[in-house]
Symmetry: C2
Subunit: 499 residues, 2 copies
């Protein structure tokens, strides 16, 4: 099924695993990354990975969804450089403080020190690269709103333990948006639009997300309002999937992003930045839908709809392969993306394992029985249920579409239900003492608690539970609840373990 | 026409230039990069550029062509990291020598020296990153051929003068292929396939290319046979557009890319590497086809087929705009990519200049005359000829397709003829003394000369002419000609100025 049939041999094909996703999520995750050819984690530089064929195909599918969302919401795609001068970096001291331990510094070019002795940083994120250009491009109110996005690699030499796709030192799938507006109101209105855009995007990707307004001390440098998207990896912790931040005029003042308003008065532009990482989106898809046999892909996400596996012996080989190829042609003409695995060196059993590991939504088996009866046997990946359908074009098309749709709906629903079930509402005052006992908490849940908003109460709650307060539940921001620690009225907040 | 209508204001809209492409190619090139919103050259780090909206759209179009060519010729797309450990770098001393003055070295992470004191290099090219992985993946003859490609940024701190798209310090469009084979014959056979793939690719892109076999001293480190593709920028110099190299077993021996052959004997794999840079392809398209009014894009290359410009006054504004939008809808339903520029703040004249600068193949004007007569006026970008056609769906479609096809053919032919005319064949012995006089050479031509292949004769010829011997003309490799310096029989070689 891959271009280089043989290059897939390097992984241990056909081997069943005994790793249980529910028991050891992390071991299972590493197993699936290797077995489904997502990334090779054996590159010699810590926290850097090689994206393999199937992983990169999935990357491209997800990227296409995200790119479309940015373009539809009025962004121009651009691409900004990787290197930042140290002097630019030093202009924003909060920024420096946020990233000071995470920056890779280029000290030398070739055999000599950098010319003029100025070091260059690899971008940990692109504010310092993009905003000086905004200052060049924005002159008057007519130049706004200015909305751009780019897809680039970012570099952060995380001192924490690295985890492929989740905590990298080089992340290839950073798809960040930046925009400039005339006023705070306009900027905040567009922040809402971005929120809706992301809602729709993650709905399409089949990922249930919680929108959380982040407390001050966790916000991105320069940000005055930040709403993050959090997911809960089944059997594991919560993870930030994207961030959306209103930066106010902080960067505009540093980089002189000034414009003449309609009354010819100088004003500073109001900035937003936002972005999900495709690496983490893919990690989430793997975690939400994968099972102990491998990936399970939604029909919308899979690069291939159907894989055909001919089952033959020496006698009927020619006719079975011919029939399989006819079916393949038919299905392609009906609009499906189809591949065939007629490799003679691997057994049908091995091929089944392989398609299951790669998460291909539908598998079609064609053997002697199917040939004689003018049928095909379809197995769906999520339930592994088999169904035999006849090979008449119209009925075949309708049956496959029906299976796809049913699979799509039941997978999405299951994910939503799982997510909902992991969110535990502590609306009852009497539960609070129990909650504050770490040992009684479910480690892979999000708790909705009342919190007054003070750093002091947050500290107490976090210390007793060993969980983190992620922030206010943005979808429930109109509701109130008594603070878990001090009992004064507060917003509903989310308490969880996090990566 | 762009998402951020206003962000295009920053360039000096509507200003005619007095720069003549034929007189000052380089000034013209910089002008067009800015005016057609290809890249902004004002980023603070030397040799790094910001890709703007129209430039990035073109980038994506070209990239899609190249990606398709790699996939069709049997490659899997992967993505490898940016950073390389110094110890890996030191394993290949030829390589180090080739790149020693060009490498950006990361010395520090955060506030401290890199852990274990080992520096990291930013990839100047990916051999040292990819081949250690090949060593992991290749075990037996069954694992080959292994063919991969990736699209990444590369970093070279060129000490020469940088030139946007042509000589960058960060190049975003490096689309490199790497493959491994069991034998030299198999590898060389695939090198031919790659040559043909590139021929087809550049034919599609409308770029006439000369294939040149590179002499030993100009070859890529580790390469034993290299065939490069050269173009001649009109009014300027020759430029290497891609390279294809047989690396033999040089890297296999360094990185232990060994396999068990069919007789269970250990063998080293034979490697190829090859790749064009999209930055340079775009530079070539700009240079070949652009004129003093701006870009001129082949219908296949342009992200937009047609731009509609309604021409209205206060009275007929509503009806003209309505009619224009109807035409737009019609054209979109007919399969064309159409945009409309109904901005009231800019004059039709300014809009004409803008569409001409962006090189959009067809412009449709719709004014009172067109409205009354149920017509549209179509202007093609290459000749600026106007044609009036009626708005009946069938005839409109046919007429536009015809104009597109005619434009496509005549542009491609013109490029071919221009290229052919710049190649001067020195088949006559009596011309040789003239040729050796630098002042009599045309600076923007390629000379086909005889050359015996010796470094000594090359030195003499290069010194006297102040031109470079690019190498043997690969398409004429069966022909012989007396060496320009020593008169012994040699191959036909190409002598030219180069970037």
């Amino acid at each position: 099924m891959f271009q280089n049939e043989h290059s897939t041999k390097s992984t241990s094909e056909g081997q069943k695993t005994t790793i249980d996703k529910q028991v050891d999520f992390w071991q299972w995750f590493l197993w699936i990354l290797q077995e489904a050819r997502i990334v090779d984690t054996n590159y010699s530089v810590k926290g850097s990975y090689v994206w393999l064929d199937w992983g990169y195909k999935l990357f491209k599918k997800i990227y296409a969804f995200a790119q479309e969302a940015y373009i539809q919401s009025g962004h121009d795609q651009m691409q900004f450089p990787t290197l930042i001068k140290e002097s630019t970096f030093l202009k924003e001291t909060d920024f420096i403080r946020n990233f000071e331990n995470d920056v890779f510094w280029v000290d030398r070019e070739g055999s000599k020190k950098l010319s003029k002795g100025e070091r260059l940083a690899l971008r940990p994120t692109s504010e310092l690269i993009i905003y000086p250009m905004f200052a060049r491009w924005i002159r008057s109110w007519r130049d706004m709103p200015l909305k751009v996005f780019q897809n680039v690699s970012i570099f952060r030499c995380e001192t924490n333990e690295t985890r492929p796709l989740i905590r990298n030192r080089e992340t290839i799938g950073f798809i960040e948006g930046h925009s400039a507006f005339q006023s705070k109101d306009e900027a905040l209105m567009f922040l809402e639009t971005i929120g809706k855009t992301y809602s729709t995007l993650f709905e399409k990707l089949g990922i249930p997300v919680k929108f959380i307004e982040v407390p001050k001390w966790d916000r991105f440098a320069g940000s005055t309002k930040t709403i993050d998207g959090y997911v809960l990896l089944p059997g594991s912790k919560s993870m930030e999937l994207f961030t959306t931040a209103y930066l106010g005029t902080t960067f505009s003042k540093i980089f002189d992003i000034e414009y003449l308003d309609q009354h010819k008065k100088k004003q500073f532009a109001h900035l937003l930045c936002y972005g999900p990482s495709i690496d983490r989106i893919l990690a989430t898809i793997i975690a939400y839908y994968g099972d102990n046999k491998g990936l399970v892909l939604l029909p919308d996400i899979s690069p291939i709809d159907i894989i055909i596996i001919p089952i033959f012996n020496r006698k009927n080989k020619a006719t079975i392969i011919q029939y399989s190829n006819e079916i393949k042609k038919q299905l392609i003409s009906l609009g499906f993306k189809v591949d065939i695995d007629d490799n003679e060196l691997t057994s049908p059993g091995m091929k089944f394992y392989q398609t299951e590991r790669f998460g291909i939504p539908l598998r079609i088996e064609i053997g002697q029985k199917e040939l004689s009866k003018n049928e095909i046997t379809v197995t769906r990946r999520d339930t592994l249920q088999k169904e035999t359908i006849d090979n008449q074009e119209a009925t075949m098309r309708a049956s496959i579409l029906e299976i796809q749709q049913d699979m799509d709906e039941s997978m999405r629903n299951k994910a939503k239900v799982t997510f909902q079930e992991s969110i535990i509402d502590f609306s009852e005052r009497e539960n609070i003492d129990n909650l504050l006992d770490e040992t009684k908490l479910e480690q892979d849940a999000m708790y909705l608690i009342g919190w007054c908003g003070s750093e002091k109460c947050a500290e107490v709650i976090e210390q007793k539970t060993n969980f983190s307060i992620l922030g206010y539940d943005y979808q429930l921001k109109d509701n109130k609840k008594a603070c878990l620690n001090c009992s004064t009225s507060g917003f509903i907040s989310v308490l969880a373990k996090r990566y």
